[in-house]
Symmetry: C2
């Protein structure tokens, strides 16, 4: 077969998370959705805030279609980018402008553009496990070499000594996802500062920039009032921010996000241009215009996060009582459970017997754990508790 | 600078068409939009049909946001793909199914996925000039070698003898854009049949598939009742169709299109998988969901094409009378004018003195011509006629 092996592989590869979600769907059809406790996917159950729908309606009523649905500039409408930049400036004391931003089809598109726009063949991309599986797809397919580093247990912070040992002359990118999928951990200011100090030293040694890609789709999904998610660009100049509105506005299907190349990035205009060129190469013309028009009114809105807060509390309290060990989730909407047996896939198979659907950590480069997505109705969590209890007890027999 | 040269080049490169459009904008600010005759861009002036807005409103009123804005399957909602397939089947006597289609961010994304999904390093991509400039961007950046063949003058059909001479053992893709941007020509059934026969013979000789990418964003923009745009997959099995709703529904900013891998393509499931894998690699998760929901109701709608028909008639009649030579445009909304002087860029510069904004054919790999986009208000065409006349006369002095 004369087709590119990477495309064929990633197209044919059983996407395990989707396969598990498909099983959950089939099982729901069989025994009723209310009898299946599907914790497999990160598709928010909480609806988008009303301002999203209201704004979309208002735009349809007021902006003439020939204007509304026209091509925009490739990086997006200037005024929309300006509004996003000013919103960031208000929150983080920065001085970004429209010209530093590019509106993308979610964080995934931003990450793909960043890797295509930065990587030369053989460049190394450091990824902290557990990780979102597409990181290594983009890294590999755009010529890079993924270097996987396990987070430090039990707090799932970056292991700075391990990072120091892993940085080489070919290190080009370090991906930092906080709050993280699937661990739900937030890298502390101390961790980020230590990483920044290390990378500055390594940059000086190797004589070329090392970029942090800060992938932050879960920034707003934080549950303790005192928790602060460090804003990585304020710690380290060569940070490119990849953001998504999928989770905070419950709009994952609409593909809205952006990348930001702060002016303090080395040769920032060239880096911005390379990422723009990457977007062009990857077939992006501009992000859908109706949703661009929507954004400025919604920058300070979020979906009702209290549902996730309630789910998290319920699960943390009860699962701990049932004897499970887990990473304490500070953000996002995932619980990363330690598997009661060494093989997490076997644990997830056994969970199915109790109609509990989980994803083995192997999917995220981290065997021995399983991901429980709690972006579901609280009622689902409540009704799942006896099953989760019975599952735990099945190991204590 | 340690950045990939292709990304940097395509990001920094002055996009000449956008630069010309920017000049038109600046000039309009200076002397009033009504005094600038901006024929530079393919951004439809005719609004989307009312059914688009009506359907969007109805969806916002009836589909719960947590469903409406959720992730869809990567290729798109099954029922939407089924509706598109059935619409094609009704029009072309085919038997496509949802599983043959993948909803993309316009035809550009479909083309990028197809080239990433098909090309191995050194594979040749035949492109007929004049051509949409992104064809060679995708071909080059995904490892291919663009091979540019001029169309036959004066009818701008494919020159079959030239094609025969150009096909080699490394030919993998032939891009066929009809109705075409920028020539507005439609390849006849005779042309397509001859090309198909030639490519079947060449496939047999070289022992591997040669794919036609049929890029058809202008399929519905045809002006003579008797003109038929041949449906390439019915002429040649190894055809992958790339379609866009940008022009027929006047929705270029919303990025809706699809690719179709017909079951008659050699190893069609592998080819489909490779294109899916390419989409994943390029950072596409799913095309925006609201507009997916909109599509089924709008598959037989078009924007009011009578505006373009009127503009075309007005321009053809008058420009011919003024002494211009041009390709007779059968479709799309472009006139490809022969430059009255050998250097089309100089002609376009001179046109600016008459406040007429055109794009030199050099941008489309075809020097000596200039593109006039007539997707503008008819009033603009009417008021531009004296300027176009004076421009012609300036050469006859």
């Amino acid at each position: 077969m004369l087709l590119p092996q990477d495309a064929l592989k990633y197209g044919k590869e059983e996407n395990l998370i989707r396969a598990i979600a498909a099983y959950a769907g089939a099982r729901a059809a069989e025994i009723g959705a209310e009898n299946v406790f599907n914790f497999s996917i990160g598709n928010p159950n909480v609806p988008a805030p009303a301002i999203v729908t209201d704004t979309l309606r208002e735009i349809l009523d007021t902006v003439p279609p020939a204007v509304l649905h026209a091509y925009t500039a490739a990086p997006g409408l200037y005024d929309v980018r300006k509004a996003i930049a000013e919103n960031l400036n208000g929150k983080f004391g920065t001085a970004y402008g429209a010209e530093d931003l590019y509106i993308t089809a979610g964080s995934s598109a931003a990450l793909a553009m960043a890797m295509k726009g930065l990587l030369l063949p053989g460049d190394e991309v450091i990824v902290f496990a557990p990780y979102y599986p597409e990181y290594t797809v983009y890294a590999e397919c755009f010529g890079g070499v993924p270097v996987i580093l396990k987070c430090r247990e039990p707090d799932f912070q970056i292991d700075i000594a391990r990072l120091e040992a892993a940085v080489t002359e070919r290190t080009k990118i370090v991906i930092v996802n906080s709050p993280s999928n699937p661990a739900g951990s937030i890298f502390s200011a101390e961790t980020i500062a230590a990483m920044a100090e290390l990378l500055r030293r390594k940059q000086a040694e190797c004589g070329h920039p090392i970029y942090i890609l800060a992938d932050e789709p879960y920034r707003e999904l934080v549950y303790d009032a005192e928790t602060v998610v460090p804003f990585v660009p304020n710690f380290y100049d060569n940070t490119i921010l990849c953001y998504s509105f999928s989770k905070c506005l419950s709009l994952p299907g609409e593909r809205m996000g952006y990348f930001l190349v702060p002016p303090r990035v080395t040769d920032s205009r060239d880096v911005y241009a390379a990422l723009c060129g990457a977007g062009r190469i990857l077939g992006y013309i501009n992000n859908p215009s109706l949703f661009q028009y929507m954004l400025p009114a919604c920058l300070d809105a979020t979906a009702d996060l209290s549902v996730y807060r309630r789910n998290r509390e319920l699960l943390l309290t009860n699962l701990t009582a049932f004897g499970y060990e887990m990473v304490k989730p500070e953000g996002a909407f995932y619980l990363f459970l330690k598997s009661p047996e060494p093989d997490a896939a076997a644990f997830c198979e056994r969970a199915k017997r109790f109609e509990v659907i989980l994803v083995p950590g192997d999917c995220f480069g981290y065997p021995g754990y399983a991901r429980l997505s709690y972006c579901v109705a609280t009622e689902t969590v409540e009704r799942a508790l006896p099953a989760l209890k019975a599952l735990a007890e099945s190991y204590q027999g």
